[in-house]
Symmetry: C2
Subunit: 160 residues, 2 copies
DNA sequence: CGGCGGGATGATACCAGGTCTCATCCGCCG
DNA sequence: CGGCGGATGAGACCTGGTATCATCCCGCCG
C-alpha cells in the first residue's frame, strides 16, 4: 500500500491545474475540487451535487457540470462509461495517456498505463486500413479488497 | 474488398437469431432488423425511429428501444459510446468477443478480434490485483475510403 | 473611491436518450 | 372459436446534460 497521495494533495493539484490554465479558482470550483478529490473512485455529477449541497447550500447543477467540464478539458478528470451505460467521472492523472480499471463493487478506480496497447492499436489500424485517432479501453472487475471481503462474507449461494 | 455479406443476409441473420432464442419475429422486429442491417455503421435509436416511420407510420419509440434491447441481449447489436458521449448502436457478430473500430467521419464500423488484447488485459489485472470481468476497447479513426476522399477534396487549411 | 467589463453563477427551461406503465391488440395454440 | 401471453403504442416520467438569461462578483482602471 502506498497512499502517498492524499485527498488534500489532489485538491491542491486540481486547483493548481485550474490556475495554471488561467481559470479562476473560485469557491465553487474549489468545492468541486475538494469533492472530486475526496472520492476514491468514480462519481456522478448528481452525487457531487448532493454532497456539495450538504456543505454549501447554494451550488447550482449547471455549475457542477461546468466545473466538471472544465476539469475534463484539463484532463484532471475523465468521463467514464460504465458497463450499465451510465456516465461517471473519475479523478485522474493529466500527464500521461492512460486508461481506467474500475472496481464494479466499490467503484474504486486505478489508472492503467497505456503500455503495449498503443502498439496493438496501431497494428489493428494498419490491418484495417484505418487511421486511428483515439482509443478508449475500459476495464471492469473487482479489486483485491472487495474480493477478500466477499470471500470473508460470502453472499447467498456463492459458496456452493 | 469482400462485400459478401449483404444487408439482406444480415436481416435474415438477425431474424434467425431472434427465432433461435425463442422470440417472435414480429413485423416490428423484422422492420428493426431490416433497418439495422441496412446501415453500414452505427446508428442511434432516434435515427431508426425516423427511418422506420418513413416506411411504416406506426412504430413506437418504446418498441424500437425494446427491439434494440433484445438484439443487444442476443449480441447481434452492441451499444457504443461515441467519443462525444453520445450513444449509438452497431450491428455486429454475436459469435466471438470483439471490439469496434469506427470511422468518425462516415460512421462505418468494423469488428476487431480481441486477439492479443485478452492477454494484455489479463496481465493488467494481475499487476493491479484486480479480477477483471469485462473490458471494452473502442477505436475511433478514419477509414481508408474517407481518408482518400478527404485527400481528393481537402478541406481549408489542411494541404498547408 | 466609483464605475465598468468579463467571467462565474443559479434558476430554469429545455433536450435527448432511455425506462415504465397501462390499456389495447394480436397472433398462436388448444 | 376462445383465451392467454407476449408485443405494441402513447405518453408520462426520469436522468444526464446543455442553453439561456439575468444577476452577481471581482479585479482593474480611471
Amino acid at each position: 500500500m502506498r497512499p502517498s497521495i492524499t485527498a488534500d494533495d489532489s485538491t491542491k493539484r486540481i486547483i493548481r491545474a485550474l490556475e495554471r490554465a488561467g481559470y479562476q479558482a473560485t469557491p465553487n470550483r474549489r468545492l468541486v475540487a475538494r469533492l472530486v478529490a475526496s472520492t476514491g473512485g468514480h462519481f456522478t455529477a448528481a452525487e457531487l451535487l448532493e454532497r456539495g449541497r450538504q456543505e454549501r447550500v447554494n451550488i447550482g447543477r449547471a455549475t457542477i457540470f461546468r466545473a466538471l467540464d472544465l476539469l475534463a478539458s484539463l484532463r484532471v478528470v475523465e468521463r467514464l462509461d460504465l458497463p450499465t451505460g451510465a456516465h461517471a467521472y473519475v479523478l485522474c492523472d493529466p500527464d500521461e495517456h492512460h486508461h481506467h480499471l474500475v472496481c464494479s463493487t466499490c467503484g474504486h478506480s486505478v489508472d492503467v498505463a497505456d503500455g503495449e496497447l498503443a502498439r496493438l492499436v496501431d497494428e489493428i489500424g494498419r490491418r484495417a486500413g484505418y487511421r486511428i485517432d483515439a482509443h478508449r479501453l475500459e476495464l471492469f472487475g473487482m479489486c483485491s479488497a472487495c474480493a477478500s471481503e466477499q470471500a470473508a462474507v460470502p453472499g447467498p449461494g456463492s459458496p456452493a
